[in-house]
Symmetry: D2
Subunit: 326 residues, 4 copies
């Protein structure tokens, strides 16, 4: 089928490519004309601007937004709301906050335009592996765009079948899920990322313990110099902690066992934060997910004010007599 794609960055461009490989016709637009042109060379129809993109699509249209969450997505939706017509579908495939989805869907609904939110996991691997998608929206609309979703999804592949799934939604085993009403796709994707933070932190702490097992202050017979690349690799095979994140870790460590080339400052995106806020709204303890987020915050704090405050207190009770109690 025909689809418009707005935003041709790493994710959006590959989504277009995978859709074209699957036989779909893509009208594409990026505010950077070179990005538009590049995809046009691969078979897409380039558009000059949003209006041109909408004009080149047959009604009822399907427009997939793949833009950074926040102002640019917000502005583009406002523009689209003015030029789309009733029964068109807008898909937000980015990392929007699910409460924004709910608000936007209500606004677009006034113009008869449908809104679908798609949480998309897979990163740069998606072009080859397919995208794991969590989709929120009305059932009829999600069914309408199924040709697109089924092409983007990874499919069943060679992944072992889970028993007891007879009679369940077959789309799920193909790697995409209609999670519920508008917002629920991004909500599930948000929690996915929250879990991702926790998993990553668990590995990071464990490997840290392995790495420091050679500290000179340990008793000599209890000191080991462990080959972390080999540990990660061996755990990929038959161990309880095998995972895709471990695969990536094994790859990184095999290249550089000290990981010297990587930043000590770790960014966090909205999802990790929103996950904690959702936990708090639901009164759900989320100690591990919080700790993972806080580690990233800490990694970017060069000021170290709380640590200096601890030092000041220690100094206060242990080190001097200047502050009189009476």
């Amino acid at each position: 089928m025909q689809i418009g794609i707005v935003g041709l960055g790493r994710m959006g461009g590959n989504i277009g490519r995978r859709l074209m490989r699957g036989g779909h016709q893509c009208i594409v637009y990026d505010h950077n004309p070179q990005a538009t042109e590049a995809l046009a060379k691969e078979g897409a129809t380039g558009a000059r601007d949003l209006g041109d993109l909408v004009a080149k699509l047959d009604a009822p249209r399907v427009v997939w937004l793949m833009l950074p969450a926040g102002k640019i997505t917000e502005d583009t939706l406002a523009d689209l709301q003015r030029i789309l017509t009733a029964d068109d579908v807008v898909i937000d495939g980015g990392n929007s906050f699910y409460k924004d989805d709910i608000r936007r869907a209500a606004q677009l609904r006034e113009a008869g335009v449908h809104y679908v939110d798609v949480g998309t996991s897979g990163g740069v691997w998606g072009l080859e592996r397919g995208y794991c998608m969590m989709i929120g929206g009305d059932d009829a609309i999600v069914r309408r765009i199924d040709p697109i979703l089924s092409v983007l999804a990874p499919g069943r592949g060679e992944i072992p079948v889970t028993p007891h799934r007879d009679g369940r939604d077959a789309r799920v085993e193909n790697g995409y899920m209609h999670t519920g009403p508008v917002g629920s796709g991004h909500f599930v994707k948000m929690v996915h990322n929250g879990i991702e933070y926790g998993l990553m932190q668990a590995y990071a702490e464990g490997f840290h313990i392995l790495k420091h097992k050679d500290l000179p202050e340990l008793p000599e017979e209890e000191r080991y110099t462990l080959d972390l690349a080999d540990v990660a690799e061996v755990w990929r095979r038959g161990s309880v902690v095998s995972s895709w994140l471990l695969d990536l870790t094994a790859g990184a460590l095999a290249q550089d066992g000290q990981l010297d080339g990587f930043s000590t400052e770790v960014a966090d995106s909205g999802e990790g934060r929103w996950t904690i806020e959702a936990a708090i709204e639901e009164a759900v303890p989320a100690q591990v997910l919080s700790a993972a987020l806080y580690t990233r915050f800490r990694s970017r704090d060069a000021e170290s004010f709380p640590e200096r405050m601890l030092s000041a207190m220690r100094f206060g009770f242990g080190g001097h007599k200047e502050f009189p109690v009476k």
Copy 2:
């Protein structure tokens, strides 16, 4: 080659089976004669007691212990120390504390007996999938028992190859690793289990947030009733959080979405605790691994003393006037 196996529980029995399938000759002993007999029926040579087992093995012998960590392993080693002879090899394949390995190896060394510690992951799946093994001991001895290890290991299977591993130890890609001196096998396995706790807790917290997204106190349009079995399943395909633990979770949820049949009290074994102690010895922050352990502690605390203490304090400053400040 020939090997003695002591301890024929779920793990030990299957290890024997997998070794026999691989062409090895197993002399087996369990303090429960029925367990010994059962394996004998499958082709092993049963032994009446430790002495009989040792007598039936050709020197230099190889004896694999697969016993619960602690007193029983300790006692069996003491017995073996008396009857084994120089150049024999004892392998502790259980979950012993690595500092115990170091002490025991030193003791056995006095009698010329070699000690190898093998951390074994794979659980009940090992018979079919093979066992991921982390092995501590002298290089020559680990090489000597390679025929056993290579049969127990999962092998390369269809797991994608990690790049940049040229020239590295090929055993690792077959799922077993000589981690270093005595104790290092169990040390690495211990941290493996610590990570396992953290991963499990990350999933548990995330699914808890998903599950409670239908709480009546949330705004109606932000309430979703999510199918957790489907969420787990869809994440198995192309998502960043895919893992073997997620595979197991998807299976459990497909059978019973409420997990009503499972205990609310979660046991912990030594490894989770020792991992935190190792972190503290090394001054490594282990917030996530600790939180995972503490959740298990908390799950078994019916007394709730600290919670009552919080309530008492709240009552103190908010609720009554009985305690005079002046």
Copy 3:
């Protein structure tokens, strides 16, 4: 001076009493006429309703709201906005969210009405000890209501003087602080409560460790049965952990060393949650404050879904073979 008080619960009633003791004239109103009447008997002027209260006050009026945060405060402010006149002052002394303060102040400003937010600590002890107050609002208005604030505040008392405070705002040493613009009073009070949660949890964990030092599974010579009431008491004198919360704890434990009468379910109010949200907005790690909040969440979770999920995973890898991997 003259002041109207709306809301005569435990906090509001005592605030009126302390103000009257300090020579101020109080016009009071509670939606429960008995509460109004009770305070009228102690010297206040009772009002039938908000309109009556406003009518009985000379312009420019000062009205102190001491109501539960949320809808009732919101509604009362809406009512007041209709009947107050330019240059009147509304004080919200409750536990409102500081972002609500900012919004409300902007609304009232349109009618020329001033808004001051007062975070009030002291609980039921405030009548005797005075209230520690954190005050947000315009400087001129905060100065205008100083006669009220200075009477409510604890004053310098016998608390040792902090050195290096020469030239600093003297109000602070009397126990009240103009923290900054509107909202900042409640913001500082919110963080105060966040810290309070953390302090309480630190004591609760420590006493838990002391209490369980008599567990039968510990080695006999390392088992102690500690008198927790005495421990709390001795720490009140010269130790680094002495605090008012410890005073309260010592009192509770002296009455009932097991705290059997206290709830195992611990409530949390908005401030603890908002503190974490503020930390996340600022990218500040707040591990301890979060852990304290989560403990309270956990204390009220009878369902134990995440724990059952951990059990399900453990069962998956350790206990059965039903879920096929191949």
Copy 4:
């Protein structure tokens, strides 16, 4: 009475001074002769070495050790064991691990020498304020040294009386407590320090949130520049979070609101670590106390390996395509 003091550092010297002020006769020794001489000038009897100290004391002797925990305490006890005689008393007033107390007491008992462990809080303030003491040992021996303990203790002071303490041990209200058998004094002191870490961290996190409320990325109307010195000061008066640690914090902030002079690396002593190990032995969740300890570990980690590992994983799934999945 007469007492020998070994170790005249900041703590030991002041203990001697306070005992002399209380009318006791002190025979003192420090391996640094100048320290011995200094105290001798203040009225103590200096000793050349341990033997001289023991010789100058009348039997049955009382010797107070105030030495760093670990080897030096261990060695000194070994030396004393050789020269003390039956019914003498050794007091370890330092920060020894309670399990070491238990072992040492058993050794000394063979020579008929009594051992008392005293956990001492109060730091440099103890000379004036007195020392809060937690004391483990045999009842008769603790009674025998009561004249010493009662002089070192803070006494009742002006601290408000806790109700419901009638009939309880009066020593406790004077600031010293016989906690139980040998080791229990240091055990209680250890947990005291664990709590101290948690309290400090709670304040540090809260003030961090206050401090960063002026971040430029926050909405302008929600930005406050808070005077932290004033906040700490105001909370000292009538608020729920008032404490001695807050007094110290207020003092430090009044001197330097940015705390620029203080170290960003925070040391930790044995007690914080042992507290977590005790929690683990007892299966007690200690999330807050652990988080406080880990923050200190983190403050000293310049290598940031776990953070680089997180970056490597993020790069792996988001940034490049080098690692092939098939």
